[in-house]
């Protein structure tokens, strides 16, 4: 029987930047019962003609192959790349993290932020907003550390990803 192991896939999709294209992609995932762990989208060329969608999803190998084939047959889709399979790649996510506290907790939060290379982008006498870029696990770890130190609000972009080396999508 087919492989039932679940894997995570990071898929880059280059699409025509037309109205409804995001709804088409999301509708495909919803309609066929695929998972979306995260999804980011923005125009990526000068004329604003093309957008790039980065989707992090999970499923069996057969399901992930289906996801790629289904994406590829959408009319406004130019290219689909499974970064997870095609060599080394970089994956980054941006987070804004609000921590509210006083005294030692505040000092400790700032010290840990420094260790994690999170930048302070806003501060009051009782709060910080940290900006942090990195892979998802790093942000998870930082948020976990901040929780007892007064973590109040987290805002994350979801992952963007690109292959290493000279070859482009």
């Amino acid at each position: 029987m087919s492989d039932t192991r679940i894997r995570t896939a990071t898929i880059a999709v280059l699409v025509e930047n037309e109205s409804g294209v995001l709804a088409r992609v999301i509708g495909l995932f919803a309609g066929r019962g695929y998972n979306i762990d995260s999804l980011t989208v923005a125009p990526v060329d000068d004329e604003g003609r093309l957008s790039r969608i980065t989707i992090v999803t999970s499923g069996t190998e057969m399901v992930i192959d289906q996801i790629k084939a289904q994406l590829d047959r959408l009319v406004p889709v130019h290219r689909v790349q499974d970064l997870t399979l095609e060599g080394p790649y970089l994956k980054r996510e941006l987070a804004l993290i609000k921590v509210v506290g006083q005294g030692d907790q505040r000092v400790e939060a700032l010290r840990l932020a420094d260790a994690f290379r999170a930048r302070v982008v806003d501060a009051t006498t009782e709060s910080f907003v940290f900006e942090m870029t990195g892979n998802g696990e790093k942000i998870d770890a930082f948020c976990a550390l901040m929780r007892p130190l007064g973590l109040k609000e987290v805002c994350r972009t979801g992952a963007v990803a690109i292959a290493r080396g000279a070859v482009a999508l």
């Binding site: 087919s2 409804g20 057969m62 192959d65 289906q66 084939a69 590829d72 047959r73 959408l74 009319v75």
Partner: protein
């Protein structure tokens, strides 16, 4: 050759509505099926002032789409629909999904409220592109006049390219009234910006497939609707390949006619109501060559018991059909015609010896299965067996030798038509396979008759299905379309009743066709001829009279009420677990809850 309404290009600019018609004409459209309304009045006005495109006024928008499907499937051309905004568009949705499931090329133009009112809940406004996004292969909302002509051409390209399907173009009323620039369709060979389906197969895969088939001891060729969609040449090549290899061939419901039913190498249809020999051949084969079919659940039955010992070759134009339900060993992406041409070439040049003796033994086994004569029935006494009615209809049309097209509704009658009406040519059989849309057959036959005015077009129907689009009898009358509606009237939603009998303890919940109309009088009310056969000795006369009558006919064939459709693979069972007839029906009671969950 210009539209009569079309002003000289350099004097007065064209309106959006004129651009729409010009694009249709340039795409080779000569007939459209539609229903007017406020938002599309500019197109209807432009239609009125020209003569090159014929408009067929249907009685319900769903029927417009089915008629376009019948037109498309019987000609290989794109079917075109024109409906208004709001309810016009929502009524068309069932037809669109039907065309999507069966890969039928249709372009559906929908009216829309003017751009400045979109999103305001205006009168007859619906989010048509939102509603039809999962119902179509692709859809467009034209918001700028300068996009109009390009989008129209794009819609036709998308509808017919790759795996064909329905495309909606949503047209706001102001775009139709304002002047719009016309651009010609892109020249053939100019690649589309983003949609470029692969049609030529990878030769390495073809070679792998040919070698597998040559070495195979128990091969089978399983051909589907993709062969028909590829065009008549693909069906010719399928015939050539099957005869070249001498392998057994079975067709799916959508593939009937792709390989001639009268050929000794044909095993009949496979699947839930397929023949004993076709299903056991699929179950026992060691190499399966699937060309243009999609391992639908009606074909595979229980997935983990589907053809357990075979290597599977799957050729499909849609890469997402490959490895979707069934893991295959040799995937081939390409157009069915191109794949078959490559297979024939490779078969002739590849030196691998054919496992001839083993294949002969395989044929002996298949002939044993054939001897079971799984479609046998006994016609005794005055009550007409539905199988007999279809068989006689087939035999009499054969005898007359007229070009014959058959459409069906959905249910038992559809399966009996598939089992007892033999198709030797492609594009002669229109049925709703994927979606299973009751009410498909009459409008589909209408579309076929428009495309083939001299042909004999018969809708084999059930008394329940036919009532779902019966209003189209009015369209038949208006355009003098001599469509024949052949109703197998058993006073039940027969397939529902059959499942209730086999799986739900004969509790016939709501499946009796109560308060039926008098179909003879109904025909007369719609200016058609009404006929009825109540006993077996009347059957042939009614069939002959139906065919001989020059106008539309409803023939009400009163058939046995309790007949079930066999063979049957009950839901959740494997191909070798077929129920062959009423005496084995008790086995269906053993269907597990897991099986009952399946439709």
């Amino acid at each position: 050759m210009s539209l009569t309404a079309e002003p000289a290009a350099d004097t007065k600019p064209m309106t959006g509505a004129e651009v729409v018609l010009r694009a249709l004409k340039d795409q080779g459209v000569d007939v459209i099926f539609g229903y007017p309304g406020g938002a599309v009045l500019p197109i209807y006005d432009a239609l009125f002032q020209q003569n090159s495109i014929r408009h067929i006024l249907v009685r319900h928008e769903q029927a417009a789409v089915h008629a376009a499907e019948g037109y498309a499937r019987s000609t290989g051309k794109v079917g075109v629909v024109l409906v208004t905004s709001g309810p016009g568009a929502t009524n068309a949705v069932t037809g669109l999904v039907d065309a999507l499931m069966d890969s039928i090329p249709v372009v559906c133009l929908t009216g829309q409220v003017p751009t400045h009112l979109i999103g305001n809940d205006a009168f007859q406004e619906a989010d048509t592109t939102g509603i039809t996004r999962p119902a179509t292969k692709h859809n467009y909302l034209v918001k700028r006049s300068e996009d109009l002509a390009r989008v129209m051409h794009d819609a036709f390209y998308v509808a017919r390219s790759g795996r064909p399907g329905p495309v909606v173009v949503d047209l706001p009323k102001d775009i139709l009234i304002k002047p719009a620039p016309y651009v010609e369709a892109p020249a053939v060979g100019v690649p589309h910006r983003s949609y470029r389906p692969v049609t030529q197969p990878d030769m390495a895969r073809i070679q792998e497939a040919v070698r597998l088939l040559k070495r195979s001891e128990r091969p089978v060729i399983y051909a589907g609707g993709g062969v028909i969609n590829s065009g008549p040449e693909a069906s010719r090549l399928l015939g050539e390949f099957v005869r070249l290899t001498g392998m057994p061939c079975t067709n799916t419901l959508m593939g009937l006619g792709a390989f001639p039913a009268s050929d000794p190498l044909f095993l009949g249809m496979l699947g839930m109501h397929g023949t004993y020999q076709a299903n056991l051949t699929m179950h026992g084969c060691d190499v399966m060559f699937n060309i243009g079919a999609r391992f639908d659940d009606r074909i595979t039955g229980r997935l983990d018991a589907f053809s357990p010992g075979s290597k599977k070759i799957h050729a499909d134009i849609d890469p997402s059909s490959i490895n979707k339900n069934v893991r295959v060993d040799v995937p081939i992406v390409g157009d069915a015609g191109a794949v078959l041409a490559a297979m024939i070439e490779c078969w002739n040049s590849d030196p691998t010896p054919v496992a001839k003796d083993a294949q002969l033994a395989w044929w002996r086994q298949i002939d044993q299965w054939r001897k079971r004569d799984c479609l046998a029935y006994v016609q005794q006494g005055p009550i007409i067996k539905p199988q007999h009615a279809v068989k006689r209809l087939f035999e009499i049309t054969q005898e007359l030798g007229r070009e014959t097209f058959i459409s069906t509704e959905v249910g038992q009658h559809q399966m009996w038509a598939a089992q007892y009406f033999g198709f030797d040519k492609p594009n002669r059989w229109m049925t709703s396979g994927g979606l299973g849309t009751m009410g498909y057959g009459l409008p589909a036959a209408m579309g076929v008759q428009i495309a083939h005015p001299a042909a004999l077009c018969i809708d084999i129907a059930g008394e329940a299905s036919i009532l779902m689009n019966i209003q189209e009898m009015g369209t038949l009358a208006q355009y003098r379309l001599p469509v024949k509606v052949f109703i197998l009237n058993n006073e039940y939603m027969g397939m529902v009743r059959q499942w209730q009998e086999l799986l739900h303890g004969s509790r016939y919940s709501e499946s009796y066709s109560e308060s039926l109309p008098d179909f003879v009088k109904l025909a007369e009310a719609f200016h058609a001829r009404g006929l009825r056969a109540q006993t077996a000795d009347q059957l042939d006369d009614v069939i002959r009279e139906m065919i001989a009558h020059p106008g539309p006919v409803i023939a009400d064939i009163c058939v046995a009420k309790d007949e079930n459709c066999y063979p049957m693979i009950p839901s959740g069972a494997a191909h070798n677990d077929m129920i062959m007839g009423p005496s084995e029906a008790k086995y269906a009671a053993a269907v597990t809850d897991e099986g009952k969950v399946l439709v």
